[in-house]
């Protein structure tokens, strides 16, 4: 029995962390804000194999497990890396499971090689889109990772569809979102040709959402653990009343609360990722439970860490705001905790249709 990361997974994590700790210090991140992921970073991400983690080998991927994917997502969150990974993971999982041979050929090699960058529609805005199976029309109010995107992964009429960004009839209005490591926009489609994944089967939508949500949970976990580590370090560095503030019981207990929340979440994330490969019927439920719990815990940790840093935490000088806003945004993306728990209840048959 082994519950946890393998040696290869730990190595993968170390590789990613080494790269980003060299490339992305606070000033570098601030310089990148509101811009597409820089080519050198994207190229390195591709070279480390991060875009093709769960792509099958015949499409140039490394065909690893969902747990490997979580290692990647967690590391990206830890460095608030402006890498458009969530959409890539969603499309990969959906196309692998539900795409036809042409679709696999069309997308998977491009995802692995990095020639495709995927923007994805948020939870809100899908209702405004309609799709007849060949063309999509409507105005989606939130689309994520739009800067530099080559393709849009959207949902309309319970179908999962891909729109090539070079098609005509697409209009993009940039939005001013709080997490500047990601770009948001309103995207309007005027009868634009689209490629429906899995012939309109709703389970293509479900698997894409489940993978997206679990990846956002892992991203949140990475960011929250970093904020917790920052708070711990700061508590020993900062002196007031001739004592490190970490010697005050109030601070010690806040730190204990943070780590007591984090560690079971780590176990839940690992297990949830494991169900994708080992117990697929349980995957969507576990993705929902992980996303809702980890983003709740993330919210508490982000708040407490900021508070422990005092006034400095409220400035842009320390850079804590970048993590705070990433966590805050992850919490809402693809559904806030309440709507995701409602989905978890629905999956388990807890919702009485007559009553609701």
């Amino acid at each position: 029995m082994h519950f946890g990361l393998s040696e290869e997974q730990i190595l993968l994590k170390d590789t990613i962390r080494r790269y980003f700790s060299d490339r992305l210090d606070i000033d570098a991140i601030k310089a990148l804000l509101n811009a597409p992921c820089p080519d050198d970073i994207w190229q390195s991400v591709v070279e480390m194999g991060l875009t093709g983690v769960i792509v099958p080998e015949e499409y140039a991927g490394s065909n690893l497990s969902m747990l490997d994917t979580m290692v990647v997502a967690e590391a990206l969150g830890e460095f608030v890396a402006p890498v458009p990974m969530i959409g890539a993971l969603m499309i990969t999982a959906a196309v692998r499971m539900h795409g036809d041979e042409n679709q696999r050929e069309r997308y998977l090699p491009g995802i692995t090689s990095g020639s495709m960058r995927i923007a994805y529609g948020g939870k809100q805005g899908h209702r405004a889109l309609s799709c007849d199976g060949e063309r999509v029309t409507g105005r989606s109010s939130v689309v994520v990772d739009v800067e530099g995107a080559t393709h849009f992964l959207m949902m309309a009429d319970e179908r999962l569809l891909v729109v090539d960004g070079s098609e005509s009839g697409i209009e993009i209005e940039k939005l001013n979102n709080v997490d500047r490591t990601r770009s948001f926009a309103i995207v309007s489609f005027d009868g634009v040709a689209c490629d429906v994944i899995g012939q309109g089967n709703v389970s293509a939508v479900q698997i894409a959402l489940a993978v997206g949500r679990l990846s956002l949970a892992a991203d949140t976990f990475g960011a929250a653990e970093k904020m917790y580590e920052d708070a711990k370090r700061y508590s020993l560095e900062r002196y007031q009343f001739d004592r490190p503030i970490g010697s005050f019981q109030s601070i010690k207990h806040q730190l204990s609360d943070m780590v007591s929340d984090l560690e079971p979440c780590r176990s839940l994330l690992w297990y949830a990722a494991h169900t994708y490969d080992a117990d697929p019927d349980e995957f969507e439920l576990h993705s929902c439970l992980a996303k809702s719990l980890v983003t709740d815990v993330g919210k508490r940790i982000a708040k407490t860490s900021l508070e422990i840093h005092g006034g400095m935490g409220y400035t842009e000088l320390l850079g804590l705001h970048l993590w705070f806003k990433r966590i805050e945004t992850n919490r809402q993306l693809l559904g806030g905790p309440e709507s995701i728990r409602t989905r978890a209840a629905e999956i388990q048959g807890f919702i009485n249709q007559e009553v609701s």
Binding site: M1, H2, F3, G4, S6, S65, L67, K232, S235, L236, R243, P244, G246, S247, F248, Q249, I251, K252, H253, L255, S256, D257, V259, S260, E263, P264, C265, R266, S267, L268, W270, Y271, H274, A278, H286, L289, A290, S292, L293, D296, P337, E338, R341, T342, A344, A345, F350, I351, N352, V355, S356
Partner: protein
């Protein structure tokens, strides 16, 4: 990730399963044998059978009445799983078995091991723990109950509190101050005291649940032989910490959490007279799913710790948080059960009104987990100081000028 126990354990699981199929015993008593009442002769006979099979006292050496197997945490887990799924009473767990016996095995004399381990694991000798005192709770090392040597005896005077099972116990493992001049942690000794000795007065302490599960124990010139010491004089604090290590494991066992969340799910899906299910209420449903996520997180966390133990990875912060995390979760689960039942949630267990599980009493009892065995606040000190490397708070004293820092 590999969550199987491995094919080599299949035979063992089959053997246990076979035993569970061929043998039936469910203790009819509602109490906990060896905690709130003495084990019945039937329960003792069952225990003897379990030891003989190696399903209780599995790793206790044969010469002390145990089964004498090599420690194998997976086999323990398999036994636990099979007994739960068959609904059979498992091997007994009480303070004597779970705390004293491992301590004696680690630091007891040969004579102590010979005298005490066998009757204890067989459920014939019941123990209570004489640690806490009215003025020594979280700061246990400040305890004042004294023992003075007089001839061949220790003479014990003082008072203990929160002594569960003192009213049924034969023996008490007790912490006393034997070296009043020494620094507080080095002046304590760990003694074994027969509860029928002259001068012991046990008074039941009725708790918030209305039950008398704890006691106050008054000690007035109680004489016990000087040979009834575990370790040496002044070494009692280290000996006690061996015992406390086992208690934290006992209180934080997350196996209990899994059945609590399942019971809560059943409760929320049960219709009342008007055909209404609590689960139909969006807010209660939301609270339930949140608890379900926490509960599963704790369950998988338990698997992670099991895997760490099997693979001999050193303990870390993930081990220290378990008691705090699991006991808070249990409290929240019972609280939602009470809320879902609304007015009927305030009824106690003997009400004619209800067939549901006893939610109010479980809710009240959940404080045993939160406070007992090192309260939540103490757990948070332990986590932050031992695992996160945070400093202790400075000591203060009250002087005529008010509070001031105490010189070390």
């Amino acid at each position: 990730m590999d969550l199987s126990y491995g094919a080599e354990y299949d035979d063992f699981r089959n053997e246990v399963r076979q035993f569970c199929r061929n043998n039936q015993f469910v203790d009819p008593s509602n109490g906990m044998p060896g905690v709130t009442e003495r084990p019945s002769t039937e329960r003792q006979a069952w225990q003897a059978k379990l030891i003989e099979q190696g399903y209780a006292a599995r790793t206790i050496p044969k010469e002390y009445g145990g089964f004498g197997a090599e420690p194998d945490i997976i086999k323990n887990r398999i036994i636990q799983e099979e007994f739960i799924s068959a609904g059979l009473s498992p091997g007994m767990a009480n303070q004597g078995i779970s705390m004293l016996v491992p301590t004696l095995l680690e630091v007891g004399t040969e004579e102590q091991k010979k005298n005490y381990i066998e009757p204890t694991i067989k459920g014939q000798m019941i123990w209570c723990q004489g640690y806490s005192e009215p003025r020594a709770g979280s700061d246990l090392a400040s305890l004042r109950t004294s023992a003075v040597v007089d001839g061949d005896d220790f003479v014990i005077n003082g008072q203990k509190i929160w002594t569960s099972s003192a009213h049924v116990a034969d023996m008490c493992f007790i912490l006393v101050r034997t070296e009043p001049e020494a620094p507080k942690h080095r002046g304590i000794s760990y003694l074994l005291m027969p509860m029928d000795a002259e001068g012991i007065d046990v008074r039941p302490l009725v708790t918030i649940t209305g039950d008398a599960t704890f006691n106050e124990v008054f000690l007035d010139d109680v004489r016990i032989p000087v040979s009834n010491i575990v370790g040496t004089r002044g070494q009692g604090w280290q000996v006690a910490n061996v015992t406390l290590k086992y208690e934290r494991g006992m209180l934080g066992n997350s196996g209990q959490g899994a059945s609590a969340i399942k019971n809560l799910e059943d409760l929320l899906l049960t219709e009342d007279e008007a055909g209404h299910r609590p689960m139909d209420d969006a807010v209660l449903r939301d609270r339930f799913v949140e608890l379900q996520a926490r509960s599963l997180a704790n369950k998988y966390h338990g698997m992670r710790l099991l895997s760490k133990t099997i693979n001999r990875e050193p303990p870390g912060v993930e081990d220290l948080i378990v008691k705090y995390s699991a006991t808070e979760l249990a409290h929240d689960i019972f609280c939602l059960g009470v809320d879902a039942l609304e007015e009927r949630g305030t009824l106690m267990d003997d009400s004619p009104h209800r067939a549901e599980k006893d939610w109010q009493k479980s809710f009240l009892s959940s404080f045993v987990g939160i406070i007992g065995g090192g309260s939540a606040n103490i757990q948070k000190n332990i986590i932050s100081e031992r695992a996160l490397g945070m400093p202790r708070e400075p000591l203060v004293e009250l002087t005529k000028d008010g509070w001031s820092l105490k010189k070390p």
